[in-house]
């Protein structure tokens, strides 16, 4: 008898505790990557949204795909809107992890079609650019090929640590592959090229780390998100930047399957992707808006620092290719890194 009661109690506690600590019906939870980006998202999207609708937006983070999958698998989804990388979103939609976007609530007409899918609306888009510490580099690196030239540009170079669109493409471009012939990616050729500088690579795993490496001269140059270079420059760091063959990729906003406040989430997406929300966020972060009408609402000098001002030679990383090949590339990537 006691066993039954205790078991019942345990079950009772297990089912009720998450419910009481989770958000009230109207409130919602927004999850992103933390740092200056999430701060800008809170200020540009969540606060105006709360002011207009009275719905509280709680912030959580950082985004963690393992946690996201665990929530969906266990049927207890505490996140309503999540900022994820676009290639992950395409893959996750295929695996049935995401709610379809309700485009009756979210106006689609002005959204950049490059970054909109049935299960995701763009959060912002960015470019990988070549940045360097002016004090530590003699001369000006002109493009990705210079990152592989150890005689002309000695020193440590920093790249994004995780398997994601970007580094493979950079290696191929540096090896002379024309921009329109990048896909399907020739992994053997890319890793062979990367092997030539492997011992001089310092990996960065987060935006703040990439800034710290360049600003301190720990790495003399590297592949950075344009928003991070923008922030370094604003802080007065002596950084140079080359937009030559800048590589665009995007973060998108998704609603996990089974999210508790799906309808509220859709309303939030409408606000976040609106021209005003996108303009505010772009101005604060230096990342580009995914709403084509947003630029009209931004000050002219803020527009100048966006990836949109550097479309000459700009290359769009192929998110669909990456979504389809994410696992195979990742397996090879990590095996190569561990060598």
């Amino acid at each position: 008898m006691k066993l039954i009661i205790t078991g019942f109690l345990a079950g009772f506690i297990a089912t009720t505790v998450p419910a009481t600590t989770a958000a009230k019906a109207e409130d919602m939870v927004f999850t992103s990557w933390g740092g200056t980006t999430q701060e800008a998202q809170t200020k540009s999207w969540a606060e105006p949204f709360t002011a207009a609708s009275g719905i509280k937006v709680m912030q959580d983070g950082p985004t963690d795909y393992g946690k996201l999958k665990a929530m969906i698998d266990s049927g207890s989804v505490n996140w309503d809107v999540v900022d994820v990388e676009m290639d992950f979103a395409i893959k996750a939609a295929k695996d049935g992890l995401l709610e379809p976007i309700d485009f009756k609530t979210v106006p689609k007409a002005d959204l950049d079609p490059r970054f909109t899918t049935d299960h995701a609306v763009g959060s912002f888009y960015y470019s990988f650019v070549l940045a360097w510490n002016k004090g530590a580099v003699s001369g000006e690196p002109a493009g990705w090929a210079d990152m592989f030239d150890l005689t002309k540009f000695p020193g440590k170079r920093t790249f994004y640590k995780w398997s994601a669109p970007g580094v493979i493409e950079i290696a191929l471009l540096a090896d002379g592959v024309p921009a329109d012939k990048l896909y399907p990616l020739d992994l053997d050729r890319a890793f062979k090229k990367l092997d030539t500088i492997k011992s001089d690579i310092v990996w960065w795993s987060g935006g703040a780390e990439s800034q710290q490496l360049i600003a301190s001269g720990e790495a003399t140059f590297g592949q950075l998100w344009n928003g991070r270079v923008f922030a370094l420059d604003k802080d007065g760091a002596d950084v140079g930047v080359s937009w030559n063959q800048n590589l665009t990729a995007a973060d998108v906003l998704v609603v996990p399957k089974g999210a508790k406040n799906k309808d509220t989430a859709m309303k939030f997406l409408a606000a976040a992707s609106s021209p005003a929300g996108q303009a505010k966020f772009a101005e604060a972060s230096g990342y580009a808006p995914i709403n084509t009408k947003a630029k009209a609402e931004m000050p002219a000098d803020a527009v100048k620092s966006l990836p949109d001002a550097h479309v000459g030679g700009q290359i769009n990383l192929d998110m669909n290719y990456w979504a389809a090949n994410r696992d195979t590339i990742a397996a090879r990537w990590y095996a190569w890194q561990a060598k």
Partner: protein, 302 residues
């Protein structure tokens, strides 16, 4: 990971011991004893046994039933290298920790107790400081443009910065620093229990200080060294933060690989299999420790 393992084993040990004590009271009272134990048993089942079983289950059912995850882990050169690295780092850290901790522990053991408790306080305080903070501090010290390299270059000892970070050196330095208290504390207990008269007797019998150290002090302190050493080794096996921040990608350790499988590859079957192998290795080592050192020494030393 390592914390969980230790918690599981120490808790189940407590449970087993109380079962035995109860039994000594006579068979009549067994039902009552079981009733008293129920909450503890349920707690252990809910939070320790079931999750571990679920982990094991996942490792043989995802993505499909079978042992393919274990086959992949044990048959692949990359994973083999990660396993090797994990043991290499754990072994290096253990040896270095023993070498650094022994003189400190000896000093603490023979020091006047007032001063010793101050030093103890400092060591404990460092344990209480956030792990991430301490690891970041090492990053600042060890990097190419860091304090150590700058100083050495300014005084002209070296021309080029030494590679102290993103490699085995960095991981070892950072981890030894973090593991030191776990070695010093049990060691001091053992060393304090050694009668100083044995050393005096050795020198009276004509032993040189080194002989006294090697033939008297070292053998007598072995239980403490073994207890602390195994604890450091087992903790190092599952370490995550320090290797991730101070190591390079080519000396990745198991915990980091598991995190990668779970978080970015979403391959939970493979991650579970790796975690389960780590768990089994840790348990075997723990059993070995219990057998070699005796349960009382291990728990008493800390």
């Amino acid at each position: 990971m390592d914390e969980t393992v230790r918690a599981v084993s120490s808790r189940s040990r407590v449970a087993v011991m109380s079962v035995e004590t109860r039994r000594n009271f006579g068979t009549v009272r067994v039902p009552a004893g079981l009733n008293g134990l129920l909450p503890a048993l349920i707690l252990i089942m809910l939070f320790f046994v079931i999750p571990v079983l679920a982990l094991l289950l996942r490792s043989v059912t995802e993505p499909e039933p079978g042992l393919q995850n274990y086959a992949a882990l044990l048959g692949d050169g990359t994973y083999a290298r990660v396993f090797f690295n994990t043991f290499l780092v754990a072994a290096l850290v253990t040896v270095a920790t023993v070498l650094v901790a022994f003189p400190v522990a000896w000093m603490l053991a023979i020091m006047p107790s007032g001063l010793a408790s101050i030093i103890f306080g400092i060591i404990i305080l460092s344990m209480w400081t956030n792990l991430l903070t301490r690891t970041y501090a090492w990053m600042v010290l060890l990097q190419r443009t860091g304090v150590i390299n700058r100083t050495l270059m300014t005084i002209g000892v070296i021309d080029h910065p030494l590679p102290l970070i993103n490699n085995l050196t960095g991981v070892t330095i950072g981890m030894v620093y973090i593991m030191l208290p776990f070695m010093i504390l049990p060691l001091v207990g053992t060393l304090r229990a050694i009668d100083p008269m044995t050393l005096r007797a050795a020198s009276l019998c004509g032993a040189s200080p080194f002989q006294a150290f090697r033939r008297i002090l070292v053998p007598l302190s072995l239980p403490g060294v073994a207890a602390g050493g195994l604890m450091v080794f087992v903790m190092s096996l599952g370490y995550f933060v320090t290797p991730a921040l101070l190591g390079g990608t080519s000396n990745m350790m198991l915990a980091e690989m598991i995190a990668q499988m779970v978080q970015s590859l979403l391959n939970w079957g493979l991650g579970s299999a790796a975690a389960f192998i780590l768990l089994v290795v840790t348990m075997v080592l723990y059993a070995l420790q219990l057998r070699l050192v005796g349960a009382r020494r291990t728990s008493g030393g800390i």
